[in-house]
C-alpha cells in the first residue's frame, strides 16, 4: 500500500506538543500524592487491572495486527497503543458508567509510572516480526538501513510527558481552584486536538481517509472494543465486584492517546511517523465513540448494584461506620450478597 503522506509540519508539531502539555498538566492536576498511596493500600484491584492493561491489551493488539495482516508501521503503532498507560478520560467514563472511580484513578496512576518499565519490554516482545518486515523492505529498496524500535527515545519521551503531570500535581497542591480549571480545560483541549488533527488531515489530504486500508480502521476500532470486552470478562471471572469490573473494562480499553502522540513524534522518523500517527489519531477518534456507547450500556446495566452501593456508603456516612444496611430477603441478587463496599480514593473526595 502506498502511504507516503506527511501528516504534520513544523508548526503543527509545535501546536500538538503544546496541547499534549496542557492535557498532561490537566491529568496531573487531578491527582494527589495520596492517590499513589491508595494504590499500595488496595493492591488487588490494581494488580488485576495491571495484568489486564499490560498483559491482555498488548496481546490483543498483537493478535489483531497479525490476524488482519496489517502493514508493519500500522501494526507497530497498534501494539504501541496496546501498551500505553491509561488516561484521565477513563476516570470520567468510569464515573459515568457507575464504576469505581477510585480504582480507575489508581490504575491510571500505577500504569503511568509502570509504563516506563513495561512499554520497552512489551514492544520488544511483540514487534520483532514487524520491524524485520520493514527492515527487509528497506533493504530491498537499497537503503541498507535497519529498522529498530528506539527504546531509549521512548523512555525519554515518557519521562518528558511525566513532567507536566508532576507540574499539575504541584499545581493541585498549591491552588486547588486553578488545578480544577486546568483539569476542565484539558478535557476540552483533548477533544480539540482530535478534531484539529482530523480536520487538518481532511483538508490537506482528503484522499487519506479513502487510501487508508480497511484493516487499519478495523484495528483502530477493534482494539478498544476488545479491551473493553476482555477486560470486563477477565475481571468478572476473577470474581471482582461489578463496580470494579466496569472500571477495569474501561481502563483496559481506553489508553492515553496524547502519550502515544508524544512518543511517535519524538521517537520515530518519516515515513513511519505519519503512518503511526494516523493510526493513533484514528484510535483516539473512535475510542471516544465506542467508550461513550459502552458507558451508556454499563450505566443502564449497573444501575441496580450502583444504587445499593451508594446507599450503603451514605448509610455509613450518616448513621456511623458500624451501621449495617439490611435489605429484605430476596431483594439482593446472589452476586451482590457479599458486602460491595470499598475505600474511597482521595481524589474522589473533593
Amino acid at each position: 500500500m502506498e502511504f507516503n503522506t506527511q501528516l504534520l509540519y513544523g508548526h503543527d508539531q509545535a501546536l500538538l506538543a503544546l496541547m499534549i502539555f496542557v492535557i498532561m498538566l490537566g491529568m496531573g492536576s487531578s491527582l494527589t500524592v495520596d492517590d499513589f498511596r491508595a494504590v499500595a493500600r488496595k493492591p488487588r484491584g490494581v494488580l488485576i487491572g495491571f495484568i489486564s492493561q499490560f498483559g491482555l491489551m498488548p496481546f490483543l493488539a498483537f493478535t489483531l495486527a497479525t490476524i488482519l495482516k496489517m502493514p508493519p508501521a500500522f501494526a507497530i503503532a497498534l501494539i504501541l497503543i496496546g501498551c500505553l498507560p491509561g488516561g484521565t478520560t477513563s476516570n470520567m467514563f468510569a464515573y459515568f458508567s457507575r464504576g469505581s472511580v477510585a480504582l480507575s484513578i489508581s490504575m491510571t496512576t500505577a500504569s503511568t509510572v509502570m509504563a516506563l518499565l513495561m512499554m520497552p519490554i512489551i514492544l520488544k516482545l511483540y514487534t520483532g516480526g514487524f520491524t524485520s518486515q520493514i527492515t527487509a523492505s528497506m533493504q530491498d529498496s537499497g537503503s541498507g538501513a535497519e529498522f529498530v524500535i528506539p527504546t531509549g527515545n521512548i523512555i525519554s519521551s515518557l519521562v518528558l510527558v511525566l513532567i507536566p503531570v508532576a507540574l499539575g500535581m504541584i499545581l493541585r497542591r498549591k491552588s486547588p481552584v486553578w488545578a480544577k480549571t486546568a483539569e476542565d480545560t484539558a478535557g476540552f483541549v483533548a477533544i480539540l486536538v482530535i478534531l484539529y488533527l482530523l480536520l487538518t488531515a481532511f483538508i490537506r489530504h482528503g484522499g487519506l481517509f479513502v487510501r487508508t486500508p480497511v484493516e487499519v480502521y478495523i484495528g483502530a476500532i477493534g482494539i478498544g472494543l476488545a479491551g473493553f470486552f476482555f477486560g470486563y470478562w477477565f475481571s468478572r471471572l476473577l470474581g471482582v465486584f461489578p463496580l470494579f469490573q466496569r472500571a477495569i473494562s474501561l481502563e483496559t480499553g481506553i489508553q492515553n492517546g496524547p502519550v502515544s502522540f508524544a512518543i511517535i513524534l519524538l521517537s520515530f522518523q518519516e515515513p513511519f511517523q505519519s503512518q503511526m500517527l494516523w493510526m493513533a489519531i484514528l484510535y483516539s477518534t473512535f475510542i471516544v465513540m465506542t467508550s461513550s456507547i459502552i458507558t451508556l450500556y454499563f450505566r443502564k446495566h449497573g444501575r441496580f448494584d450502583w444504587e445499593i452501593y451508594r446507599n450503603t456508603i451514605i448509610h455509613n456516612r450518616l448513621f456511623g461506620e458500624k451501621y449495617v444496611t439490611e435489605y429484605p430477603g430476596g431483594f439482593l441478587p446472589g452476586r451482590l450478597l457479599r458486602d460491595p463496599s470499598q475505600g474511597h480514593s482521595p481524589s474522589q473526595r473533593r
Binding site: D184, I191, V288, E307, F319
Partner: protein, 650 residues
C-alpha cells in the same frame, strides 16, 4: 420481587412495611451535618403500636379527631403512626398556627386530645384552655422539655403502652381491623383565602389511591429528602408513597438544605417552586463567580443541552403542544430534528459529563427526579433544571384532592405542563360561567383540546367534603365533580396545563380580563426581581409591586446597604423599569392591556405566614390589604408615566 406495597388503609400499609422492609431505615433526623439518627420500619411500627395503645388507654376512640400541632421531627411521624394505628384521624397544623385558628380548629373538630411539639405551643394552648371546653389531654412531643402542669410526656405514654402490650394488650390490632376505607385519616384545615379555615376530610381510601396511582419506579434503596412542612398534604403523600416503596425519608430544613443535599445525596424529593427558584439563583451566582473558562464551558454545555433536548422532545412527541400540530408539519420538521439530535449527541455527551454533572453534584448528584407542587413553577426554572439534567416533574393538585390530580412522569415529561391526570382520575375543562363541557367535547375541534376553562376533577382522591360545612361542600361539587377554581387547558399531547386561578383574574376598568400569574412568572424570570404581584382590579391599567433581588444589586456595586435602600435608589428604579419593559412587551406576546404601566418597589420581601402561604403562594387579598396605601399611590396620579414600548410603533 414486587417493589411497592398496596394496602387498603394506612395502618395496614404501616404493618406491611414493617414486615417487608424490617430493619431498613424509614425516617432519619439530623443531629449534625454528617450524623443522622435512623429509625427502622420495624422499630417505628412497634413504637407506633405502643403509643397507640397508650392513646387508647387515655380514652381515644376510633374515628376520633386528635390534634397534632408541630413541625418536622421524628416524634411527629411517630404520633401520626399511632393515631392511624388506633383508628383515629389527626388534625395537623404547624407551629405558626395563630391563637384564633387554634381555638377555632380545636372546637370545630371537637378535639379532646392534642399533641403539641414545643413548650411555646404548650404554653399557648394552656393559656387558651378556658376557651377550649372539650380539650382534655395535652401531650408534649419535645423530649428535652419538661411538660407543664397537666401535660403528659410522649415518652411516658409510649412506655405505658409498651407495658400494656407486654401484658398482652392487643386493642390496637382490633382497631386496625376495624378501619373502613371511608374513615378519615386526617382532617386538614386550610387557611382559606377568606374567612374561617375549612376542614378538608380526607379518607384512607383517598390516600391509598394516591400511593397506588402516582407514577414512578422507586425501591428501598431510594433516599427522599424532605423540606416541606410535615403536616402539609403534599408532604404527607410523599411520606406515604415513600413508605410504600421502602425508601428512607431524611428530614432536612431550608437552613441546612444545601449541606444536606450533598451529604444525603437524595434520589427523590418534593418541594414548592420557591426552592427551585432559590437553587437556580444560587447556581447562576456560582457560575458567574467562577473562572471565565468554566463560564464559557457552562454556556456551551447548556446550549448543547437545549438543542439536544429540544430535538429529543420533538422526536418523542414531548414538546409542549398548546396548539394542534398538523401531521405534515411534523413530517417536514422531523428530518431536521433527527439530524440535529444526531449531530449534537456526541458533543452533548461530553459536555454533559464534564460540565453539567458538576452542577448536578451540587444537588447531591443522585437525583432521579424531583416533584414540584403547591404553586406554578416558572417556565424558565422548569426548563433550566430539565436542561441541566435534574428532571423536575411538576405536579398539580390541592388539599381537597389529597393532593395530586396530575403529575409529569419520566415517560411523560412535557415541560410547561403538569402532566397527564393520574390513573382512575377524570379531568374536564368547563366554561366557568355556563358550566358547559369544553373538554372532552366531540362537538369542538380536537375534542376541545387547547381551549381554556375551569378544571373539574373526579377520582378516588377527591375529598369526602368539608367537615360540618354541608353548604360549602355542595357549592364545591357539581354532579359529583369537584370544581377546582383553577383555569387550564388540555394540550394536544393530553397533558394538563395550568393557566391561573379563576379568582386571581384581574378585571380592568375597561372590562378586560387579565390573568396576573403568567405576567408575574415572566417578571420573575428577570434576575433583578425576587417577588412581585400584579395589581389593577377595577383600574385603568396594570401595575405591579416589586421586591428586587438585593444581592444582585449589591454585587453589581450599587451603593445599597439594606433592601430598604433599593426602594429609593433612582438607578435601581431605572433598571427595574427597563426590565419590566423588556419582559412584558408585545414582542413577548403580551397584549397592550396586559402591559405594566407603573410599579412600586417594596421595602421588605413577602414572608411565609404573612403574604405567602406555606408553599410560597402569594395571598393576594393580604397583599391588597397590607399595601393598600402603596397601591393607592401607584394609581394616584393619572400622569403615571406609561412605560414606552419599543414595539408599539411598529
Amino acid at each position: 420481587m414486587k417493589q411497592t406495597i398496596q394496602s387498603e388503609n394506612l395502618a395496614l400499609l404501616f404493618r406491611a412495611a414493617a414486615e417487608k422492609y424490617g430493619e431498613l431505615p424509614a425516617f432519619a433526623t439530623r443531629q449534625k451535618a454528617s450524623e443522622w439518627k435512623p429509625v427502622s420500619y420495624r422499630e417505628l411500627y412497634q413504637q407506633g403500636l405502643n403509643l397507640a395503645t397508650g392513646l387508647i388507654e387515655l380514652g381515644v376512640e376510633a374515628r376520633e379527631h386528635v390534634g397534632l400541632f408541630g413541625d418536622n421531627r421524628f416524634e411527629w411521624i411517630l404520633s401520626d403512626y399511632a393515631v392511624q394505628l388506633c383508628g383515629a384521624a389527626d388534625v395537623p397544623r404547624g407551629r405558626d398556627v395563630t391563637d384564633v385558628e387554634l381555638v377555632y380548629i380545636i372546637n370545630h373538630a371537637g378535639i379532646r386530645l392534642a399533641f403539641v411539639e414545643t413548650r411555646e405551643l404548650q404554653d399557648r394552648l394552656l393559656g387558651l384552655r378556658s376557651q377550649l371546653p372539650e380539650l382534655r389531654e395535652i401531650i408534649l412531643l419535645d423530649p428535652k422539655v419538661e411538660p407543664g402542669e397537666g401535660v403528659r410526656k410522649l415518652l411516658d405514654i409510649c412506655d405505658f403502652g409498651s407495658m400494656l402490650r407486654e401484658r398482652g394488650d392487643r386493642r390496637a390490632e382490633d382497631r386496625i381491623a376495624g378501619i373502613q376505607p371511608d374513615d378519615l385519616f386526617t382532617l386538614i384545615y386550610t387557611s382559606g383565602t377568606t374567612g374561617t379555615p375549612k376542614g378538608v376530610m380526607l379518607t384512607h381510601a383517598n390516600m391509598v389511591s394516591q400511593v397506588r396511582n402516582i407514577p414512578g419506579s422507586y425501591n428501598c434503596t431510594d433516599r427522599v429528602l424532605s423540606v416541606l412542612p410535615i403536616w402539609h398534604i403534599f408532604e404527607r403523600v410523599m411520606e406515604m408513597y415513600t413508605i410504600s416503596f421502602g425508601g428512607c425519608t431524611y428530614y432536612s430544613g431550608i437552613q441546612t438544605l444545601g449541606e444536606d443535599m450533598k451529604n444525603v445525596e437524595p434520589t427523590f424529593m418534593a418541594s414548592a417552586p420557591r426552592l427551585w427558584e432559590k437553587l437556580h439563583e444560587r447556581i447562576m451566582r456560582n457560575i458567574k463567580a467562577s473562572h471565565p473558562v468554566r463560564q464559557v464551558l457552562f454556556h456551551i454545555a447548556y446550549f448543547l443541552s437545549r438543542q439536544y433536548k429540544g430535538s429529543e422532545y420533538f422526536i418523542t412527541n414531548k414538546n409542549l403542544k398548546v396548539n394542534p400540530q398538523p401531521m405534515w408539519k411534523r413530517i417536514l420538521l422531523m428530518p431536521f430534528h433527527l439530524l440535529r439530535w444526531a449531530v449534537v449527541l456526541p458533543w452533548y455527551g461530553f459536555f454533559n459529563a464534564a460540565v453539567l454533572e458538576r452542577i448536578r453534584l451540587g444537588a447531591g448528584g443522585s437525583l432521579k427526579a424531583t416533584i414540584s407542587g403547591g404553586g406554578a413553577l416558572p417556565l424558565h426554572i422548569d426548563k433550566f433544571f430539565n436542561n441541566v439534567g435534574i428532571p423536575v416533574l411538576e405536579g398539580y393538585g390541592m388539599t381537597e384532592t389529597s393532593p395530586v390530580i396530575s403529575v409529569r412522569s419520566m415517560d411523560n415529561l412535557v415541560v410547561g405542563t403538569v402532566g397527564p391526570p393520574l390513573p382512575e382520575t377524570k379531568v374536564q375543562i368547563r366554561n366557568s360561567d355556563t358550566r358547559e363541557v369544553i373538554y372532552p367535547n366531540a362537538g369542538l375541534p380536537d375534542n376541545g383540546k387547547g381551549i381554556r376553562g375551569e378544571i373539574w376533577v373526579r377520582g378516588p382522591q377527591v375529598m369526602k367534603g368539608y367537615y360540618k360545612e354541608p353548604a360549602l361542600t355542595r357549592l364545591s361539587f357539581h354532579d359529583g365533580w369537584l370544581r377546582t377554581g383553577d383555569l387550564g387547558i388540555i394540550t394536544h399531547n393530553d397533558c394538563l396545563k395550568i393557566l391561573g386561578r379563576c379568582k386571581a383574574t384581574i378585571v380592568l376598568s375597561s372590562g378586560e380580563n387579565v390573568e396576573p400569574e403568567p405576567i408575574e412568572m415572566r417578571l420573575l424570570e428577570s434576575q433583578y426581581i425576587e417577588q412581585c404581584m400584579v395589581v389593577g382590579q377595577d383600574r385603568k391599567f396594570l401595575g405591579t409591586l416589586i421586591v428586587p433581588v438585593f444581592a444582585e444589586f449589591q454585587q453589581a456595586g450599587f451603593p445599597v446597604h439594606s433592601p430598604e435602600d433599593l426602594a429609593i435608589n433612582p438607578a435601581v428604579q431605572k433598571i427595574i423599569r427597563e426590565e419590566i419593559k423588556r419582559v412584558i412587551s408585545q414582542a413577548e406576546g403580551f397584549k397592550s392591556f396586559e402591559q405594566i404601566r407603573d410599579f412600586r418597589i417594596l421595602k421588605e420581601s413577602f414572608q411565609v405566614g404573612e403574604e405567602l402561604t406555606n408553599l410560597h403562594k402569594v395571598k393576594r387579598h393580604i397583599v391588597y390589604e397590607k399595601f393598600d396605601h402603596i397601591i393607592a399611590d401607584l394609581y394616584a396620579s393619572d400622569s403615571a408615566k406609561p412605560l414606552k414600548n419599543p414595539c408599539n410603533g411598529i
